[in-house]
């Protein structure tokens, strides 16, 4: 299983992405959860603030690229965080056969979803 060996040899990379994603998931995502999940439904913040039209105009403004990079960061890195965590959990649960292919599924999944994010943000929305 040459490919799986290569994936495992990149452990420092997966772990770094795991750490980065963890920071983002812990510090930035809660702000979004609060805004979208609580503050706007409760009417504390005007829904217009994050309305579709307003967000689209922000994205097409000269500063749109920064917003896109920000969105990419909060989507992609937590995916790698989840991938690593799920992989290690499977390992701890001792599910042998799943364990061996898990690096491929989890990191592969995170990469595919990250690529989709890039395509949507930088090609579909441009």
């Amino acid at each position: 299983m040459g490919l799986l060996k290569k994936i495992n040899a990149l452990e420092p990379l997966w772990w770094s992405l795991f750490g980065l994603g963890g920071m983002i998931a812990a510090f930035i995502l809660p702000v979004h959860l609060f805004l979208h999940g609580i503050a706007i439904p409760m009417g504390w913040v005007s829904p217009d603030l994050l309305s579709y039209e307003r967000m689209m105009s922000v994205l097409s403004s000269p500063y749109g690229i920064i917003v896109k990079l920000f969105l990419f960061s909060i989507i992609s890195f937590p995916l790698f965080h989840a991938a690593h965590r799920i992989r290690l959990t499977i390992e701890d649960l001792r599910i042998g056969w799943l364990n061996t292919i898990m690096p491929l599924i989890s990191y592969g999944g995170a990469i595919v979803l990250s690529v989709i994010t890039i395509v949507v943000l930088f090609y579909k929305l441009s």
Binding site: N8, E11, P12, L13, W15, S16, L88, D92
Partner: protein
């Protein structure tokens, strides 16, 4: 009638029987007795064949680690009064092969301990035998590794570590903590030499951050945090060597 407490211990004597058994002893309860005092009472008064390791009685030697009601503890600093009037079950440390009764085989740990080279390494080998040289260290420099010098090699962290239980090749918490201790000593220059072992497939990357090693450590060495810091160090090194083009 004087107060009593029940202690159930694991018995194993491969010369006589291939299976583990348990035996329950009723001993006098004293508020100031440690579990080790209780075991010593059993050995002296009830059954002289009970086998277990101990030495210093004051949490310095690291010999008397056992599973106390399922948790790895030093029996010299765990007291009967924590469990009284309940019962106590003493088992040999988990994740290690059992030699007899409560004594486990630590060969694997000792081999790994040697591998991490827990001594001061100098690039210039003649430094190591030169007693005329002084290596002055500030308090701040010593603070960087002092906490990890407190490790007494009791191996409670190995008994607590589910990863070690699952992958016996994992070099484990205490050995990584000792590698960290020497890597962060300003007098040491052996970081690269130790990296081969610490960053190997069975090294820090095997750790899944369960954190039980830190929970059970009687000397507050905090192996879990140290493993994560060693990961940061090895990841940084990996990226730099990747950029430089040497794999």
């Amino acid at each position: 009638m004087a107060e009593e407490i029940k202690i159930t211990v694991t018995r194993y004597n491969p010369d006589k029987e291939a299976e583990l058994k348990t035996q329950t002893f009723t001993i006098p309860y004293h508020n100031d007795w440690s579990i080790l005092d209780g075991l010593n009472y059993i050995k002296a008064e009830l059954d002289g064949t009970l086998t277990y390791r101990w030495s210093c009685r004051m949490a310095v030697c690291g010999s008397c680690g056992m599973m106390v009601n399922g948790t790895p503890r030093l029996t010299c600093s765990t007291y009967l009064n924590e469990f009284y009037p309940g019962e106590i079950t003493i088992e040999p440390l988990a994740n290690f092969p059992i030699i007899r009764d409560l004594v486990v085989d630590l060969t694997d740990f000792m081999d790994k301990l040697k591998e991490v080279k827990p001594w001061i390494i100098r690039k210039n080998k003649s430094d190591e035998n030169d007693t005329s040289k002084e290596y002055i260290q500030t308090t701040a420099q010593m603070d960087k590794y002092y906490q990890q010098t407190l490790c007494i090699n009791c191996t409670l962290c190995y008994a607590a570590c589910p990863v070690y239980g699952l992958h016996p090749d994992f070099i484990g918490p205490a050995v990584i903590a000792l590698g960290y201790r020497y890597n962060n000593d300003s007098r040491d220059q052996g970081k690269d030499e130790r990296r081969k072992f610490l960053a190997s497939e069975d090294g820090v990357w095997k750790c899944t951050v369960v954190g039980d090693c830190t929970e059970v450590c009687p000397k507050h060495v905090d192996p879990s945090a140290v493993i994560q810091r060693t990961k940061v160090d090895n990841a940084t090194n990996w990226f730099f060597s990747f950029l430089k083009g040497k794999k």
